[in-house]
Structures are given as C-alpha cells and as structure tokens.
C-alpha cells in the first residue's frame, strides 16, 4: 500500500496537469469531449491523491520508520490518535493533507457544477487542476512524505508534546478545510472572469463555498485559541503571532465578502468589489501559508524553514498576476446593474462594514510584515507584538462591533428618519444603560466600557429583530413561543442564522473585554504552604499546596503539583498542574519538558494555574484569574452554529430567488431549458 501510495502521488501530478490543459482547452474551444476528459481527469487525480494519502496513513499506523516523515513525527509508544493525526503534524504530511482536501473539494465542486454551470465548469476545473498541480509538485519535489532514510531506526523521535493535544488533532484540519475551500470560489471567479459570466450561477456557487470556508475557518480559529490557552501555558489565547494572523486574514476578507455578496444578490451592485474579495481571500490563504512555512517571520508555530517558501512565493505572485490581468480586462463586464439610492441604506452600511473588515485585515497584514519592512528600511530588527496590534486593532474592532448592530437596523435602498428613530431607540437605550450601569459599578477601563456598551447595543438589536419576527408569527399563525422561534429561523435561515452569528460576535467581544481585568500572581509554595489571593470580582481564594509528585505513564514522566483550592471559604477541590517529559520507547527523553495547565472554568472566571518549575522542594507557580474566558469558546460555537444554519442546503432549496438574482431567474431557466 505504501509503495502504491508513493506511485499514486506521481500519477496524480500527471493527471492534474492533463486535467488543467484539457479543461482549459475544452472551455476555450468549446469541445465537449475535452471538457469531459478534463472532468474525469480531475476525478482520477482525486483518486490518486486519496491513494497517496492512504499510503501515508498506512505507513504511520504501521510505524514504518524507513520513511523520514514517519520517523520524524511519530514513535512506537505514541497514542494511536496522535499517530493518525501526525499525517498533518509535519511539513510534508500537512501539504499532502492540504492536497487531499483540495482534490476532494475540487471533485465535489465540479461534480455539482457540471450541469448547473456548464460554461463556468471547464475553466473552474482547469483552475483547480492548476492549483492541484502546484500542491502536488511541492509535495513531490520539495516536501515528499515518502522520502526514505538510508537506514531503518528502531524507533521514531515522536511528536512534539505540544501537538499531543485533542485541540491540535482537530484544529489544523479545520483550518486547512477553511483555507482550501477558498480555492473553489477563486476558481469559479477566474472562470466567470474568463467567460464574462458573473451572474446567478456564479453567485450561488461562490456564496456556498465561501460560507463553507468561513465556517471551517471560524471553527479552526476558535479551536486554535483553545489549544493555545490550554496547552501553551501563557494564560492567553491570542498572541497576534504571524501564524494566528495568517488564519485571521482570509477569515476577515471572507466575512466581508459574505456581507457584500448580499448587495450583489439583491441589487446587482458591487460586482468588481465582490470578485476582488473572493480572489483576495484565496490569495491571503496562500500568503498565510507562505508566511507559515517559509520562516521569513519569527513565529512560535512556524514549520521549520524549508524551500517550499520560495515555491509558495512564486505561486502567490503568479496567481496575483493572473487575477490582476483578468480583473483589469473585464472591468466593463463588472459594471454595477443598479445605483445607490441613499447614503443611509443597508447597502451603504454593508459597505462601511466591508471597509472596516478590510481595514482590519490590512492593519493585521501591515503589522505582520512591518518587521520585515522596518529591517529593510532601517537595517535594524524590531518586534511587533501584542501591544502594537492591540493599539491599532482594538479601536477598529470596536467600530466593527458598532456596525454589526447598525447594519441590520437600516432599511434596504433608503432609510427614512422615522425608520431610523423607530429601529434605533430601544437598542441605543439598552447599550447606554449597560454603559452607565457598569460605570456606576466602578468599571473604569475605557475600552472595556465601550465594548460592553456596544455589546449591549448589538445584543438589543438582535433581540429586537427576533422579537419582531416572533411576534409577527405568533399573531399571524397563533404559534407558541418555541414553535414560532424555531419556524422563524427555519423559514429564513440566512437572515436569522446571520443574527445568531452576530450574537456569537457579541459574546466574543464581551469575553475579549474581560481580559482587561485579568490578574496574574507568581507564587512559590512548599508542601503544606498556604497562599491567599483576591480575584478581580473580590472573591477571596485560598490555595494549600499538596506537594510535588512524580509519576510515569505511557510515554512520559510527569512532575505535578496539586493545590487544594477554597473560594470564600468553600472548598473547590484540588487542581493540579504538570510538567511533562516525553520519552521514546527506550525511555530516552524527547524534547524539553512541557507544561500541562490546571484550569478551573466557570461562567465568570477561569482559575489558571501553571507549574513554571520546581526548585529544591518548592514549586514555582503562576496563578491567573482570567475573567470570561469560557465565553470565547461559547462565542465561537454560537458563530459556528449560526453559520451552519445559514448554509444549511435545505434553506437554499426552499427559498425562492429574490432581489437581483430573481431578475436573472427567468433567463437562467430559459438557458437551462435550451442546453
């Protein structure tokens, strides 16, 4: 199987190249036989990539240490789940994993578009095949997981202990799914530009895949934050690290697109802008991968510096050049089909929202690249860390939060003064009330105060929208509250799913603002020592050290300290934090000791205990009180649920086309009938 897998990789490269050439030629010449050949070539490429992947999984699970990748990333005594996850744990495997997802997504997208978008499909298939050629070539020539060692070691060196975490087993696949899904809208954008058909089919396909990408990126980013929080032990979840930023960039532009595409659907406007956002999202995903894998920027997550960086840079420049050419030569085809009636309208509000999304994306990109620019201009290195990003992005984030509430309250086309007054009165009052109450309670952090005021405002706008819809259903259909709520969402999933996403955003911002009140304490404790601390909410905590213990389990030695914890005189139990030394199967230490954090979560606050080290009989501990952290994960989950509701396929089938898409529907049906 391993040999077949290795061979399949090379066959896949040839098949992808064949697919690219025949699909584009078929599209250009109008030759159905070439188009069909190209499509079948894509399916064959996918089958070959699947075989290659199964080969690597087989090698990993059978501990074939003759493969350098297997020996570098696994060991015989590693838990099976992490051996399986080692597929994407290293450079070469993760690139093959990326290729696998790309091939599967490409086959799925082309299969579903073969009848619905006949003109676009060949060019989209050709574009996707070209992207596949690039990734398979990188895997074959620069990061081949089938590379062999000159001898067979008895055991591998194991996986980095910080990757041996459930979050890390599922966080990268989600991010890859999100990154790779951006390829499909990009391919269909190129196809639409080539064929000059930026119409209903294009909108439908691109929106669906963009939503899928957004959904997976949201889950991947949230899981990444969770992993960083529970595993890295620095008591935070977002450090503005370049690799974190790389995942945020396509999410930001993708989210902007999911807003602005609504304007194109309803009004036929923003066609140039939407195409730009689609291709930018894909290019940022590639650029992020370049940052992650080239080692050009200092990061805690980067894969080792390797020659794939040059390949990614070349591919990025090539893709950018092709995109610029097609967009610049199709500007007339991208003219808006309708004008803007008022500066105070939902269309305009969505554009302001887009501006802020893109502004944040730019500032994140700018901050990520500024060390390189500074070194180039001044010749000296600088560090651009969280203080910089927070200074620049916190105000922009708050502006975005405000627009999250403002946008949905403004009517399409033109909002009247009475409409604005009616819509804004209650939410604005609610937001101000929250702000005043918190001020009266003694909150003085200005950013946190603004964040909670805006969160109150946006939450009230969402509640108001739900209340109106539910009341209407109850009065018209006489439904009970739960039934009316469920049916309201089910009958207009896009709108109310979107509001649920907004609710997730509100929860996230409220949680982010909670970190303004975080408190850290360094303590040294011997067995039996007691330490008393006060948390930001005024609760008195007592910690009694149970002493230091050591133990040996499957593939590690563990040094642990247990603390008996009391809050306001009530016993909370024992929380332990560990240092782990991972071992190979010969009991030789692997890597340096890693930290396992002791966390006690509650709705109000996390107690976060890190065993920083042990000196003599004394444990050196960092005890942190992190307010509202659990709401970051809950907010992320709410966003994902909202996204799932928005993209649920049934909603598309039930929902009659509306707006600008509706105007194109008769022509589309006529076209379908004649072809």
């Amino acid at each position: 199987v391993i040999l077949i897998g290795e061979l399949a990789l090379w066959v896949a490269l040839l098949m992808a190249a064949w697919t690219g050439v025949t699909s584009c030629a078929g599209g250009a010449l109008g030759r159905e036989d070439l188009v069909t050949s190209g499509r079948r070539g894509l399916y064959a490429t996918t089958a070959m990539v699947v075989l290659a992947s199964l080969g690597l999984w087989t090698a990993l699970l059978t501990h074939d240490f003759s493969l350098k990748y297997v020996a570098s990333n696994t060991s015989a005594n590693m838990p099976k789940v992490y051996v399986f996850a080692a597929f994407w744990g290293g450079q070469a495997g993760s690139l093959l994993f990326w290729t696998l997802i790309l091939a599967l997504f490409s086959a799925g997208a082309i299969w579903s578009a073969r009848t619905k978008a006949r003109e676009l499909a060949p060019w989209a298939c050709g574009t996707l095949a070209m992207i596949l050629v690039f990734f398979i070539a990188v895997v074959c020539f620069k990061a081949n997981p089938y590379d062999r060692l000159s001898f067979v070691p008895a055991d591998g060196r194991g996986m980095n202990p910080q990757l041996q975490n459930p979050g890390m087993a599922i966080h990268p696949p989600n991010l890859y799914l999100g990154y790779v899904a951006t390829s499909i809208p990009f391919a269909f954008a190129i196809a639409a530009l080539v064929t000059r058909r930026l119409d209903a089919e294009w909108l439908s396909i691109v929106r669906r895949w963009s939503l899928l990408s957004w959904f997976f990126l949201t889950i991947g980013i949230t899981l990444g934050m969770w992993w960083a929080y529970v595993e890295l032990g620095w008591s935070g979840y977002w450090a503005w690290d370049p690799v974190e930023n790389a995942s945020l960039l396509p999410w930001l532009t993708g989210t902007a697109f999911l807003h602005s595409i609504m304007i194109q659907e309803k009004r036929g406007m923003l066609r140039k802008w939407n195409v730009t956002l689609v291709v930018t999202t894909f290019l940022l995903a590639i650029f992020g991968t370049f940052i992650t894998r080239s080692g050009i920027i200092e990061s805690v997550h980067s894969f080792a510096q390797s020659p794939v960086g040059t390949w990614f840079a070349t591919f990025f420049l090539l893709a950018t050049g092709v995109t610029i050419y097609f967009v610049s030569t199709r500007l007339k085809d991208l003219e808006a089909k309708a004008g803007l009636e008022s500066m105070v309208s939902r269309e305009a509000a969505f554009l302001y929202n887009n501006l802020v999304f893109v502004g944040i994306a730019f500032s994140v990109l700018w901050g990520t690249l500024f060390p390189i620019l500074s070194e180039w201009v001044r010749g000296s290195k600088i560090t651009v860390g969280p203080p910089f990003f927070n200074t620049v992005n916190v105000p922009l984030g708050l502006l975005l939060l405000a627009l999250t509430g403002i946008g949905p309250l403004i009517a399409w086309r033109k909002a009247s003064t009475s409409n604005l007054r009616r819509q804004f009165a209650v939410p604005a009052g609610a937001g101000l009330t929250v702000g005043v109450v918190l001020l009266a309670l003694g909150m003085r952090d200005s950013y946190a105060l603004v964040a909670y005021t805006l969160a109150g405002f946006v939450a009230a706008t969402i509640a108001q929208e739900f209340q109106k819809g539910i009341s209407a259903r109850r009065s018209i259909h006489g439904e009970a509250l739960p039934v009316a709520t469920v049916r309201l969402i089910a009958r207009n999933r896009r709108r109310y799913g979107g509001y649920i996403v907004h609710a997730g955003i509100v929860v996230l911002f409220a949680a982010f603002a909670g970190l303004a009140f975080k408190r850290d304490h360094d303590v040294q404790m011997r067995a039996g020592d007691t330490k008393e601390l006060v948390d930001p909410l005024g609760h008195r905590w007592r910690f009694v050290s149970q002493g230091i213990s050591t133990s040996e389990t499957l593939n590690r030695y563990v040094t642990a300290v247990g603390l008996e914890v009391w809050r306001d005189g009530v016993r909370q139990g024992i929380i332990s934090s560990e240092k782990r030394q991972y071992l190979d199967s010969n009991k030789n230490p692997l890597f340096e000791p890693s930290t396992e954090v002791g966390i006690r979560s509650s709705a109000k606050m996390d107690l976060y205990i890190v065993l920083a080290g042990v000196r003599e009989d004394t444990a050196e501990l960092r005890i942190s009180f992190n307010p509202l952290v659990i709401w970051v994960w809950i907010g992320g989950m709410i966003m994902a649920v909202g996204g799932l509701i928005v993209m649920w396929p049934q909603a598309e089938r039930r929902r009659a086309p509306s707006g600008y898409v509706a105007t194109l529907e008769p022509a589309r049906r006529e076209l379908a009938a004649t072809t």
């Binding site: 290293g90 980095n160 450090a239 036929g268 502004g359 860390g385």
Partner: protein, 208 residues
C-alpha cells in the same frame, strides 16, 4: 524516579536530542535522526538558549533602595521581548516556561538594574542599547516606526474617503437613471420591467 534525577535526565535528554541527530547516525536504536521539527525543543520553534546578553550598569549610589515595586517591575518586563525565539514578553515567558533560560537571565538583569536605582525608562533604554530595538514588545513611537502605527489608520481614512466618493457617484448615477427613465422609456438596465421591480420590492420587503 526522584525529582532531581528527573530534572537531570530532562536536561541530559534535551542535550542529547540537540546533539544526537548529527553525532549518532550509526546508532540505529536511537530515535530517528534527520527530523524536520525544531531540534529537541518542546516548543514549536527553534529555541535559542544562548540569546541572553548581559545588561549591566554600575549602581547609581551604593546602598540605594529599589525605586520600583514588584508590580512595576513586572509591568516593565511585560514591555521586554524574550529573545529565546518565542513571541512572549519576559514576564510571561519566565513565569510559564521553565525550559527557557533566556527570560530568567533577562529577569536577573532587570532585578540588578532595579536594585541599582535605575528607573523603568532607564532600564528599557539599557536593554535597547544591548539588544537593539528588538528587545521591545512593540516599536517605539518615533521616526519610521510611526508609519507602523499610523499607516493602518491613514489607509482606513483613505478608504473611507474613496468609499464616500464611490457611493456619491453611485447615488448620482441612480438619480440620473431615475430622472431620465420616464422621458426615454428606458428603465434601469437590469430591473427594467414593472414586474421585475415589483418582484424586487417584494423580495426586499420579505428579507428586510
């Protein structure tokens, strides 16, 4: 296993993992060489344990008392970037990652400077003198660094100006189309028929 033995083995193991890949290729029972991950580090990056430089200044006056409280010293360390290769500040790194030898060394220098009577700004300046500006968690607000802070806001301002201009043009075009439509009999390009316009209205109302 006793703790002392555990720590000794940990250090020895880390050392052997660092050196072993190149020195022991013939010993097939050892963990695989040629690994592509960071050598021997439990972190996801190559930790440079030798990155610490001494930042030493003579005490201002003999027997001077520390001018900074522990909280102020910790706040100062949050402005200093650990040089081990992580992206953390000295305070966070030294209190959470026992394997890093750089942040504790930087911390010792900070303590010595505090004990020597130096102010927070003087200590920061001393670190910048030794390490360069890379010792700081964020660029200083001077010279070219201002570009780092201001360009995002300038870009947003420029984007806002451009957006308002584009919106005005779109608004003017819509007004022109609306005013000429009855006279020429030509409606909006794609929403021309009464039926289509009424469908659009209905759709907008439905989704509003």
């Amino acid at each position: 296993m006793r703790r002392r033995e555990f720590l000794t083995r940990s250090i020895a193991g880390a050392g052997s993992a660092l050196l072993g890949a190149r020195q022991l290729p013939a010993q097939q029972a050892t963990p695989a060489p040629g690994a592509e991950q960071s050598s021997g580090s439990s972190n996801l990056f190559d930790m440079n344990q030798g990155a610490a430089k001494r930042v030493v200044r003579p005490p201002k006056t003999s027997g001077v008392r520390s001018a900074l409280t522990d909280d102020e010293r910790d706040a100062l360390e949050r402005q200093l970037h650990c040089q081990c290769g992580c992206t953390l500040d000295v305070y966070v790194c030294r209190t959470t990652d026992f394997s890093c030898q750089v942040s504790p060394a930087m911390h010792r220098d900070v303590i010595a400077l505090v004990e020597g009577g130096y102010s927070a700004q003087e200590i920061i300046d001393a670190f910048v003198d030794s390490y360069g500006e890379v010792a700081l968690m964020a660029p200083t607000r001077e010279g070219f660094n201002w570009a780092g802070y201001l360009v995002p806001f300038a870009a947003l301002a420029a984007g806002t100006a451009a957006l308002v201009t584009v919106l005005r043009r779109m608004q003017q075009r819509a007004a022109r189309v609306a005013s000429t439509a009855p006279a020429t009999g030509a409606g909006a390009p794609s929403l021309g028929t009464t039926d289509e316009l009424s469908r659009l209205e209905a759709a907008v109302r439905r989704d509003d």
